[in-house]
Amino acid sequence: MTALLDDALRDVIDRLDVGVFVLNRDLEVLFWNSFMVANSGKSVSEVIGRKLPELFPELPERWLRKKVDTVFILKNRSFTAWEQRPYLFRFQHNRPVTGGVEHMYQNCTFNPCRGDGDEVEMVAVTLQDVTDLAMAHRALEIARDRLEQSSRVDGLTGLFNRSHWEQCLVGEFKRSKRSGTEFALIMFDLDHFKAINDNYGHPAGDEVLRAVGQCLQQLIRETDIVGRYGGEEFGVIAPDCDLDGACGLAERIRTEIEALSVVHEGLPIHVTTSLGVALCSAEVESHEALIGHADEALYRTKHEGRNSYRVYRSG
């Protein structure tokens, strides 16, 4: 009965949908199941009695020896996981059509096999194909990155949306208070934007906003943070920037937007902008107050003729 059971078990292990092979301390192969045959292309008779690193020169031999030694010395299981070591053997994966991966991802376990005494005589290695898991994990990561991106970015203009931009402003405000450095805030909106929507239709208005978004992204420094604050209202946070620098940036934004020519259904549309500049100096109490200052300067620009900028002056 026992012999029959042993045979049956051996058969089950041979047919498992998991790689199973057994090594001695010299890394000679003592057992090699069908999964290993099918995936390595090496038959049982080819591998038995031969050293694994000779059969597979691409294996990291020094590392493998140490790994197997660990099991012999500590009499303890040892593992490899696909997250850290994607594969032990460079096997093809079994989804050549739907794949999108080059190789089979593998999780391996190195198990000690004790002999009659307490000493470890052999190491039995199991190799699991975790390609599906790895793929699902990777898809999840990509989706998460996209989600994170889309939760920060305004779809139309490609600029940061209001909530993320305001978070950045709060961060910059705190940093400025801590380090005692100043930064500038520019708020601006497009002049007579409603008229564009009324005269040319909303798709034209969207086209203009998209063009302004692109223009701003090319214009600002890498450290500047630009966001869409409202419908046609925008904000630029300019770290480590004094009043002169901020005025220079405001003027550049004004001229670049003035120079834009958005062609909609064959007709060119031109747009101008009014800007307000405020400096976050030591006296400014909150980020809301700072936005208030820039807005106040913006209203003055509007009152005094548009297509220009004004600087907030306290008192």
Binding site: A81, E83, Q84
Partner: protein, 206 residues
């Protein structure tokens, strides 16, 4: 938490002795594995509540791994999770000892190294303890809990369901290299009661 299981003074002494022996064996295994002389301090053991775990390496940026263990006797047996918390150790030197090739030493290889060392420490320490208690333990593969973070952050995010932990603070010196780590055995109360029962048996046999 005040309702944390407490061990009696005798049980504590006995556990300390069991852990000393186990860690001695673990140190010996490490020495044979790495081919270097290993010295270790007497492990400091303590039963701690979850809130107290945040004090471990407080304020320091650490790396940590987790590995589940169980004795195969179900929910009243010895089971839990082993956390290994690494301080600011020199991975390059450890990598050299474990014969990782230089070109491997990226972030991912560093993770594999953390996992390998954790597996060695957990295996050696827990098997050592289990042997003395007449138990056999089974382990899951270890995984990374977090890297370059504070321990409080990692545990908060993970929302662990355990009541008490046996904290084993160990400090290894490998020849002229030294590395510090904390080994935490997180166990549900039932497992700590089981452990206390086993300690009582050892005490009776003395």
């Amino acid at each position: 938490m005040s309702d944390t299981i407490q061990l009696s003074a005798d049980q504590c002494d006995c556990l300390q002795e069991v852990v000393n022996v186990a860690m001695g064996q673990a140190g010996d295994s490490l020495a044979r594995l790495l081919g270097v002389f290993v010295t270790l301090s007497v492990p400091k053991i303590e039963i701690v509540a979850p809130a107290d775990v945040h004090r471990i390496m407080e304020g320091k940026y650490v790396s940590a791994t987790r590995q589940a263990f169980q004795d195969g006797k179900g929910k009243d047996g010895l089971r839990g999770e082993a956390l290994v918390v690494f301080g600011d150790s020199s991975f390059r030197e450890l990598a050299e000892l474990l014969q990782y090739d230089d070109e491997d030493m990226g972030c991912v290889a560093e993770q594999e190294l953390l996992l390998d060392i954790s597996n060695v420490l957990n295996g050696a320490c827990l098997t050592g303890i289990a042997d003395q208690l007449g138990e056999e333990l089974f382990y899951s593969p270890p995984s990374i809990l977090g890297q370059g973070e504070r321990i409080a952050q990692m545990l908060e995010r993970d929302n662990l369901h355990w009541e008490s932990a046996l904290s084993v603070e160990i400090n290894y010196k490998l020849e002229n290299r030294s590395f510090d780590c904390d080994l935490l055995l997180l166990m549900p109360d039932t497992a700590i009661s089981h452990l206390a029962g086993k300690l009582d048996q050892i005490l009776e046999d003395l």
